[in-house]
């Protein structure tokens, strides 16, 4: 039994549904749908961190695949079902947090309940209209999309408790979009998320869940880019990890990616370490994304051309300038977009390791060149470096 976890009256706590329309110019922005191309900062509490970041990137005219956010208002609607609230509360009340197996079992049950809940008609309508518009925008029927959870946990110290940032790739057709939307909602109740909230004493309904629906990229290669050199903090370089196919292989650590360093000022690739890349995630003939073996002749080939590396670095630099601090960027080189427009950005967030170090000035003799020249002469640079 858990005495500590507050029992919530979901119906009481249900926030009133806010209206975007008062602030929206475009007709296709609704209470439930925020298009990335018209994202505003005040949407952030309703679209979650992930969506806010995508919207922000698009506002900054970064090449982000088009898409929209399904707001937390949609998620909140499901908790109007009193039966669902009662059953979830009952399960949470009966939870022994020290028993991992029990925790997992309760999580499964809650997720099952949420995923079994009928999606409110208003949400189905909104999703249907928006998905249809996206298909038309991209001129593809049943456009493949990526569906991701986007929790409103930004104001909490560790956003990671929102659970795995659930991502579903290559989702096609409205029924599948709806199904995966529910799975994103339920991901607020993974065993990890429940345990975390318990430990930290947060309310189980302290956060809402928004969903990101975004045109799927079909990458030749993808990976991550840091807008500094992680080995020495040099901000004039961009470090790029890259491998074939979708970024999942790099992010999950299933391949050793190619590693590059690009000079962001001189716009030159200065280091290339090509790894043996054995697997990739890509769309297969089954119409789904699968992990497949890479044929031998491609295993030791560089996964990104120099031209694309420079484009990735320039993109990362733009994000860094826009956000005003070093960034950690996810990118992909799309198979179908024309050269010069084929590098797209999937995510950008602040780099945390070097950015948190104190930045003491390097200059020791500001304004006095001679003293500085003397110290340069007396202790030549390379003798300092080689230590």
């Amino acid at each position: 039994m858990c005495e500590a976890c507050p029992i919530i009256d979901w119906a009481e706590e249900l926030p009133t549904i806010r209206s975007f329309t008062a602030r929206k110019v475009a007709a296709d922005m609704t209470n439930f749908i925020v298009w990335y191309d018209r994202y505003e900062h005040e949407h952030k509490p309703f679209v979650g961190g992930k969506n806010a970041s995508l919207g922000e990137m698009m506002r900054a005219e970064m090449p982000v695949p088009p898409g929209f956010a399904l707001t937390t208002d949609a998620y909140n609607l499901i908790w109007r079902d009193k039966t669902l609230v009662d059953r979830v509360n009952e399960l949470l009340q009966g939870l022994d947090h020290d028993d991992f197996a029990h925790n997992l079992d309760v999580s499964h049950q809650i997720r099952h309940l949420i995923e079994g809940e009928p999606v409110p008609d208003a949400v189905v309508d909104a999703l249907g209209t928006a998905y249809d518009a996206l298909c038309k925008h991209c001129d593809v029927d049943d456009l493949p999309v990526a569906i991701r959870s986007s929790a409103t946990a930004e104001d909490l110290p560790d956003a990671s408790f929102a659970g795995q940032q659930d991502t579903f790739l290559w989702v096609r057709g409205l029924p599948s979009v709806i199904e995966h939307t529910r799975r994103c909602w339920s991901s607020l109740f993974t065993d990890r998320a429940i345990a975390y909230r318990h430990q930290m004493g947060y309310l189980h309904n302290a956060i809402g869940m928004s969903v990101a629906v975004q045109k799927m990229v079909d990458p030749i290669a993808s990976g991550v880019a840091f807008t500094l050199n992680p080995s020495n903090g040099d901000r004039s370089q961009v470090a790029i990890d890259a491998s074939w196919g979708l970024g999942e292989a790099v992010v999950s650590g299933e391949v050793t990616p190619d590693n590059y360093l690009v000079d962001k000022v001189l716009r030159e690739v200065v280091k290339r370490e090509i790894s043996t890349k054995l697997v990739e995630y890509r769309l297969t003939e089954h119409g789904v994304v699968e992990k497949v073996a890479i044929e031998p002749e491609r295993q030791n080939e560089p996964s990104v051309t120099d031209v694309d590396l420079i484009a990735i670095a320039m993109l990362a630099r733009r994000a860094e300038k826009h956000y005003g601090c070093p960034q950690d960027v996810e990118w992909a080189v799309d198979r179908h977009l024309p050269d010069g427009e084929n590098v797209v950005m999937l995510q950008s967030r602040p780099e945390t390791v070097w950015s948190q170090k104190a930045t003491a000035p390097i200059a020791k003799h500001t304004g006095d060149h001679l003293e500085s020249i003397v110290s340069t002469l007396v202790s030549p640079l390379h003798t300092r470096n080689s230590g």
Partner: protein
């Protein structure tokens, strides 16, 4: 550092048949028993960057003069706190250098001296540089005006009517003494600003390396480099002349650079355009100005004609060969702005601005002195040496015009004394018979020395190299010395050096050991050389990349490659030993590696 050491200068074997080679050089510049312990325990590196082959006595004189004047500025003028001079020796005709550090206990005391002296130069740089230009041009014209004509049968009447009493023989000896003085004067001018210029540049360089640990040297150089530089002017003038030849309808005359006929009115107009710029801009050598055999463009127009031919071909192919000055300036501004923006604090931005400002004040000198001294002055100096040699041969003091090159400078005084005395007496001279066997022997020895494979370094490897100019100018660091020592352990098929100019290309290697072979380079080849000179500039549009044995970030090759956006790796140490003409190689000028593919 390993416990390996370089060959002992006292034990190393020279080329066969070169016994007695020491007589070509002053006793003070050869390794000698009297200071053996000092010499054996030092580290000496071959300056193949400036003196790539065996020197004649006159070649060596300029080596001795250059290194002495460099040293003098460090040790006696500016009191560079940690660095005295650079000791120098000649071994089997080759130039070896050894930086001399200051006793650590004495560095502190030199700091205020340095600050006062260097401070004066930094504070008054532009004024002093103005004066410098006047001084150097004055010296050049004084050298040009020296009279090395044969002595006359009868003195001019004016000597009588004006009552001077001073005859041509005495004047000739006086002119020769003045010639020697002017050479030393002008080399002091050479180093008057250079060491300080490097110091200011190194300060900015060090700051950038601390702010951006991985910043490539050329990123720093690009921020400082001048956009319009006298050193590149000769090459720019060739482009103008190429266009002129096309406009005048005589472009085809340059199809055979060895036999260009400038006929008729158009030819005369071209010649006039040429003459207008030839002095000073074609006082430019295909070498580096240090050797008697360096071909000066004014005297060997087939060299610039060949470059004009290439430019004509490019213009006719519709290529724009002009330097995009505005684009170069905009790119420089962009790079500065980006680095500035990436600095962490406002204090750093302030320091960055200050240091960059000073580096840019001093840099025109660093870039331009090479034209004024190595090219212009040395072109005039060598012309005068040849003039004197011809006079002495004509009047029977020496056997051939170039015999003079095999005499040490003080020996020339003796020849002039013989010339004067017997001109005065009107009696036979002794010089020709005296020197003929000596000069014949020396010619033979010098030919043998040229075939010797000089070691990169001698003596005791240093713990650490701290002399800033050795690092800056020669690109010799603790790391590069280590790699010379351990070169047997190197990665197969890979040569490493300084990342001097960015970009990666693959292509066929062409080894070039002398400026005379520059013409062999074909379009799209990769130039591999011990060192290149700025006057090779016109080949840079032809080549894909450049690899040199020696050279730091301020070496000629590095400056020119950056200017022409050709990938380059400099200071490889062994590039010309390991790479053969015809090898397919990959040059990565961003990481400083050269890979031999097959």
């Amino acid at each position: 550092m390993t416990d390996k050491r370089f060959p002992n200068p006292f034990e190393i074997e020279g080329p066969d048949g070169a016994d007695g080679w020491e007589e070509l050089y002053p006793y003070s510049v050869t390794f000698s028993e009297g200071r053996r312990e000092y010499e054996e325990n030092r580290f000496w590196f071959w300056d193949s960057m400036h003196w790539g082959t065996a020197m004649t006595p006159w070649d060596s004189h300029f080596f001795e003069t250059a290194i002495s004047t460099l040293s003098q500025m460090n040790s006696r003028h500016y009191r560079i706190p940690p660095a005295d001079g650079i000791d120098f020796r000649v071994l089997y005709g080759y130039a070896y250098l050894s930086p001399v550090g200051v006793d650590p206990d004495k560095i502190e005391a030199r700091v205020p001296q340095f600050m006062e002296r260097a401070g004066h130069y930094f504070a008054n740089w532009d004024d002093l540089y103005e004066k410098w230009l006047v001084k150097v041009k004055g010296s050049i014209s004084e050298i040009e005006d020296l009279d090395f004509d044969p002595l006359p049968e009868m003195e001019d009447l004016s000597v009588i009517t004006e009552g001077t009493a001073i005859g041509s023989g005495a004047e000739l000896m006086s002119s020769y003494r003045r010639f020697k003085d002017l050479i030393i004067e002008v080399w002091q001018y050479h180093f008057e600003f250079l060491n300080l210029g490097y110091a200011a540049y190194l300060d900015f360089f060090g700051f950038c390396k601390e702010a951006f640990p991985s910043i490539p040297d050329l990123g720093i150089a690009k921020m400082v480099a001048g956009v319009e530089v006298d050193l590149f002017r000769p090459n720019e003038e060739l482009k103008v002349l190429a266009q002129k030849a096309i406009d005048l309808g005589i472009a085809r005359a340059f199809d055979t650079p060895d036999d260009v006929r400038l006929d008729g009115d158009a030819g005369a107009q071209f010649q006039a355009a040429w003459d207008e710029v030839a002095d000073p801009w074609f006082n430019f050598t295909s070498g580096n100005g240090f050797y008697h055999f360096d071909e000066i463009w004014r005297e060997h127009p087939q060299v610039p004609y060949a470059f004009i031919k290439d430019y004509i071909a490019k213009i006719e192919a519709g290529e724009d060969i002009s330097r995009p000055i505005d684009a170069i300036r905009a790119e420089r501004d962009r790079i500065v702005e980006e680095y500035r923006d990436l600095l962490a604090t406002d204090e750093d931005r302030e320091a960055f601005d200050g240091k960059l400002g000073l580096a840019r004040v001093v840099f025109p000198y660093v870039e331009n002195h090479n034209f004024y001294i190595e090219h212009w002055t040395m072109s005039v100096v060598w012309r005068k040496v040849r003039e004197l040699g011809a006079t002495l041969a004509k009047d029977g003091l020496l056997g051939a015009d170039d015999d003079l090159l095999y005499l040490r400078l003080n020996e020339v005084d003796e020849v002039l004394w013989d010339y004067y005395c017997n001109w005065a007496v009107n009696a036979p001279t002794a010089s020709k018979a005296h020197w003929a066997p000596i000069i014949e022997r020396r010619r033979d020895i010098h030919a043998k020395l040229k075939g010797w494979s000089a070691p990169k370094a001698l003596g005791e490897p240093p713990e650490v190299i701290t002399e800033p100019f050795t690092i800056m100018l020669w690109g010799i660091t603790t790391d590069s010395v280590s790699s010379w020592l351990g070169s047997d352990d190197d990665v197969d098929g890979q040569v490493t050096g300084m990342a001097a100019s960015p970009g990666t290309v693959e292509g066929i290697a062409r080894l070039v050991f002398s400026p005379d072979d520059v013409g062999d380079i074909e379009d799209g080849e990769i130039l591999v050389a011990p060192i290149t000179a700025p006057s090779w500039a016109p080949v840079f549009p032809k080549i894909k990349a450049c690899v040199t044995d020696i050279g730091g970030m301020m070496s000629h090759a590095a400056i020119v490659c950056r200017e022409y956006s050709v990938p380059a790796v400099t200071g490889t140490g062994f590039g010309t030993d390991r790479i053969k003409t015809g090898d397919r190689i990959r040059v990565d000028g961003s990481s400083g590696t050269v890979t031999i593919l097959d």
